[in-house]
Amino acid sequence: MKFDPFVLPFTVGLTFMISVLLYQYFRWYLLLSAKEKTIVRTNLFTKRTFFGFREIFSESLFHKKIFAKNRLLGYMHMSLAFGWFLLIIVGHLETSAYFGKAFEAPYVPIFLRFFQNEATHQTAQFGYWFVMDTILLFILSGVFLAWYKRKKAKKFGLGRATKHAIGDRIALTVLWFIFPLRLLAESITSILYGGGSYLTFGLGSLMEGTIANEHTFYFSWWAYSISLGLFFIFLPFSRYMHIPTEIGLIMLRNWGLKTEKNKMSCISQFELHSCSSCGICLDTCQLTTDLNSCYSQAPYLYKSVRNANLTDAKLNDCLMCGRCELSCVVGISNNNLRQSIRNKVSNKTESNLNYLNDIKLQPINKADVIYFAGCMSHLTPGIKRAMESIFKAASVNFSHLDQYESVCCGRPMMLAGMTKQALPLINKNKDLIAQSGAKILVTSCPICYKVFKEDYNLDIEVVHHTTYLQNLIDSGKLRLQKSEMKVVYHDPCELGRGSGIYEAPRQVIKRVASLKKTDYEKEQALCCGGSLANTILTSSERNILANAALKKMTNDKIHTVVTACPLCKKTFASAQKEIAIKDIAEIVEMNLIPMKVIRTKSKKVPSELLLNNNI
């Protein structure tokens, strides 16, 4: 058995890392619910596992998504990840070829040059040496770029480098030392005892007589081993935990597991630890770009959750608009994770909404369509009036669920992390909806729409008013004229990214106005800044966000922005005066062609009766 004391730090580090990783993964494994276990079991021996491995290759090693973002950044990650992977594989091949035995002590391939020096050199060695030197050079180029990125983040397509916690900074510097120390060690060995190819031998000859001697030889191997050992010890507690964890995450995701909104499940823990604080998401966050506030974004949140120094502001200073989820190369569902963390923090917060049981609202009269305006619409009555005239114009048998006093849909409370505390609200609204006996629930607020859709599990159809308008238009119930108004459409976060509704609003607007493009369409839409998920922003900061978003979305020819959310409308409108902010229902109402009232000899026959039977 080949052994030398200098391998001890490496071995100790490696065993420590593996045991910590196993312990962590086992703890997370316990979090798997029975349902999740069956999902994994059923998908284990299917092509999903193959897709998983393929994704591990394309993402964990080649970092294809980072390449798509920025080639230099992609190359840096690829060189480090894939390079190190090759180094290990080729190192093992060389060792087994050199010693002719399949198994050697685990440290031998890493320190092969050291153990190799006394025997004669076969010719095959030169091939390996050449390949190994090339791989090392390949990795060293990545290390150099990593160092350069810290200084000039912009070259790498990053607005700013992430501010790392101390633990990360130590692990980072240790990582930067590993491969230069290996180069040093192999170069000294190659000049003193031969071996190595153009790189190591070249560098070694430069150091001949001066640096390269017995002491530096042994010292360099010790340094290399210690740097590896340290890195392994730090890995589970630093951002590099993402290296092993992302592999697990990719497999779990491919097997079909998803994160939830109010529970830190197994896959949530995997996502939490797969964030490498790379900082790519920071630039998409409007708090960074427009408010220069960069402390509460996803990487920082996960960092403080993992280091158990979470502050209230860091958890709650986030619009949860979902833009960062687009740019996350690891595909972490930041909103679900943040809301689950908020739920965990607010778990014990008592709330007492029993008064909801004994409140007396106006009786909900029966109707086919029930319209829920939502709390926000009480403060933007324009939308409610528009919807009323649209329902009448389309002669729809509708009634209001919250004409004068509304019970909140519950989502703002859930966004603050109080999901179970919001149940009384959900139950109360469900009774009211049941009382109406309606078959369709229309709401003009995307925030309510998302909670009705995802958390109420109603047995009737839930429709956002944009889709409903589209149906009305397509079914000819609404006759509209097209005005020359030049407008742009702002996708509300909860409607676009939150619920995936992009096309319906655009079709509706095209029927009543000329819709212009912005460079923030659909998923790329900007948040208006009024999000209730953020409880830390001051009102002036919200105005800055709103004005910045409006500026980016409009040019001097556009004087009207159409949105589909009362909160966005209120936020944009109260932040400035120049640009008119309209809800879709309002511009539709403006362009309604009133139905002809058909007169007969005896008395005026209301058009609703006639209309129904001739469509």
Partner: protein, 110 residues
């Protein structure tokens, strides 16, 4: 002690100086926008919980600032965080965060 068939009325004057206002200072330090409140009542007027119960957000945080926090927990539990108050506050007070900070301070207190 013996009772003569009646109890002595409690003095309902707010004793500002001897009241413990540490909770109020804690909340104010985390949400300084509350300093701007001019007690106009717009928030309490639009409040859903307020229209169904005796809960009054304006009066609640005013009493808190005076150090009268006996009924604070009972009151703050009625808020459904719907955000209507924050939307219309003429002084831009971050009312939802005031509620959250009160809860955090109350939990920290006991």
């Amino acid at each position: 002690m013996n009772h003569f068939g009646f109890t002595i009325n409690k003095d309902n004057t707010i004793d500002y100086d001897n009241n413990d206002r540490s909770l109020a200072n804690e909340v104010l330090s985390h949400e300084p926008s509350l300093y701007r409140c001019i007690q106009c009542g717009s928030c309490a007027g639009t409040c859903t919980a307020g229209s169904f119960t005796d809960y009054n957000f304006r009066k609640m945080h005013l009493l808190m600032r005076r150090g009268e926090i006996q009924h604070l927990r009972l009151a703050v539990e009625k808020c459904i965080l719907c955000g209507k108050c924050q939307l219309i506050c003429p002084r831009g007070v971050n009312t939802r965060n005031v509620i959250r900070q009160i809860r955090i301070a109350l939990d920290k207190m006991n």
